[in-house]
């Protein structure tokens, strides 16, 4: 269950794609962390994730987890954002039969799931073919 407070806490990342760049070595973290796992630096500058990406790997979910049943089948992939981090997200508005790694994608703000019949409507990022 995703309660409203837990959901609210992640809004900077899910609505605004806020990441952090290590002031010491330049590595980008999404979500932001307190310590850089590359150089152990503790100073970061906020950055916004780029919205263009490339599909590195993906799957078609046929047996969906609770809360996603009505969306199946759907594609989930790992997308490398331009010169930045990789993220896991759904690939939508695409042909599941011809989807392929290397596909150029663009990040869009979408509804992701619904927490039961009366819970939070959960939004975030998904990707569409560029």
């Amino acid at each position: 269950m995703i309660g409203p407070v837990r959901y609210w806490r992640e809004i900077p990342q899910r609505y605004r794609y806020e990441a952090a760049r290590c002031s010491g070595c330049g590595k980008v973290f999404f979500p932001p962390r307190l310590v850089c796992n590359a150089c152990r630096g503790r100073e970061f500058k906020p950055v916004i994730l780029p919205q263009a990406g490339t599909l590195e790997t993906f799957t078609i979910i046929r047996v969906a987890p609770t809360g996603f049943e009505d969306q199946a089948p759907y594609a989930v992939g790992v997308v490398r954002l331009a010169d930045s981090v990789k993220v896991t997200a759904q690939i939508v508005d695409c042909d599941l039969e011809t989807l392929a790694t290397g596909q150029k994608l663009r990040l869009e703000f979408r509804k992701v799931q619904q927490d039961g019949a009366s819970g939070v409507l959960c939004y975030g990022y998904k990707f569409v073919p560029a």
């Binding site: 590195e56 078609i60 046929r62 047996v63 969906a64 987890p65 609770t66 809360g67």
Partner: protein
């Protein structure tokens, strides 16, 4: 540090055990191990369990199960590292004996997974992934391994048939294991024709939902002959390593870095290399997992794991048999118990008591147990204690 031996093993028949409770399953295996060792006391015990809370609504397992064991107010500790909980429980028991804190220690694992429906079980298992940045997006565990499989297939040319060959091999091995959940042969065609779960993985690429437990008894090697009539099996290495929990945070999504690191540490401790091993028990939660693991253990070069099962290299009778027990695929995967059951198999093999699945002249055995998509791995190496007879 003291040298440590395993002097007793226990396990019950695994499967959908409707008539047996979580504590009953555990106690059967624990008593079997105590009886096998022939000891009349246990000084401390460790319980590997991934999610008593989500599967049966029961936490506080150290106390609950110590009481069930009936050996007094001994310290009971529950250990959790997702699907590597059992392997890590063994490692804690090993460290306690090696350090001199306790002499006779019971290392156990248990999971009762069928009291909840499939959706709840899938949710419980998914807690081993990053809840906010993986599961939130609608990915499942088969989906995460499917994405690892696609990287391996596209980069190294691993085929759909080669994934199926892993299931075929492990089910063939499981035919010789009377405690296995699915003692049945499968063909590559059956695997490739089974229901699609998360492309390219299908139902028969996945290990099952299982109720089960396993237990082993450890003691200092020098006390083994006095405490037990069983031939002692020496713990030659114990290693544990971690990695990023989210698959997308790893530089190479087809490299099980935690397994690679733990294996390197274990080989160094044991003073042997992969070519010295007689057999391995590895974490084949999905067919692709065994392929990735045997590469990370150095049994085959990087990218060459796909052909190993079909060529017979990793089958019983091959150069390096992998999962003679049937693996998670055939034996079943009660997540917290899996790591301990792997060690039970290693001990039976090194005692020469593995029956029709016995690896001839087995001397060195390795067990590899991992959590999530490989964010934690525990590797142990065992040696037949030479010159110690019944």
């Amino acid at each position: 540090m003291r040298e440590v031996a395993v002097i007793g093993v226990g396990m019950n028949k695994w499967g959908e055990l409707w008539e047996k409770s979580h504590r009953r399953i555990w106690t059967e295996a624990a008593l079997a191990a105590v009886d096998d060792a022939g000891v009349d006391r246990v000084d401390a015990m460790y319980v590997g369990c991934m999610s008593g809370g989500l599967f049966v609504g029961q936490e506080h397992l150290g106390a609950l199960l110590a009481d069930e064991l009936g050996m007094g107010p001994i310290p009971g500790t529950r250990v959790e590292s997702a699907c590597a909980s059992g392997g890590l429980a063994f490692r804690q028991a090993y460290l306690a004996v090696a350090a001199g804190a306790h002499d006779i220690v019971l290392a156990t694992g248990v999971e009762k997974m069928t009291d909840v429906d499939g959706g709840a079980a899938t949710y419980a298992l998914s807690t081993a992934a990053d809840q906010e940045y993986e599961c939130y997006q609608g990915i499942t565990f088969p989906g995460l391994y499917a994405m690892m499989a696609r990287v391996h297939m596209e980069r190294y040319g691993t085929t759909r048939r080669q994934l199926a060959d892993v299931a075929v091999k492990n089910h063939a091995h499981g035919m010789f294991n009377d405690l296995a959940q699915f003692r049945m042969k499968v063909t590559a065609e059956q695997v490739m024709g089974s229901a699609a779960v998360a492309d390219p993985l299908r139902l028969l690429d996945c290990s099952p939902i299982t109720d089960g437990a396993a237990a082993v008894v450890l003691c200092p090697l020098e006390m083994a002959r006095k405490l037990s009539k069983q031939p002692a099996v020496r713990v030659a290495a114990s290693a544990h390593a971690t990695d990023r929990i989210a698959l997308h945070e790893r530089d190479d999504m087809a490299d099980l870095a935690s397994t690679r690191h733990a294996a390197a540490l274990a080989y160094k401790q044991a003073g042997i290399g992969p070519k010295d091993l007689s057999f391995c028990e590895v974490h084949d939660c999905f067919t692709i997992a065994e392929i990735l693991v045997i590469e990370a253990l150095g049994l085959v070069p990087r990218g060459k794991g796909g052909a190993a099962a079909g060529s017979g290299l990793t089958a019983l009778g091959g150069t390096i048999p992998v999962n003679p027990s049937g693996g998670l695929k055939s034996k079943g995967h009660p997540v917290g118990a899996t790591g301990i059951a792997q060690i039970r198999e290693a001990v039976l093999q090194l005692r020469g008591e593995a029956g029709k699945r016995q690896v001839p002249k087995a001397r060195w055995g390795l067990t590899q147990n991992m959590g999530g998509t490989g964010a934690s791995t525990v590797v142990h190496i065992f040696e037949r204690a030479l010159g110690r007879k019944r």
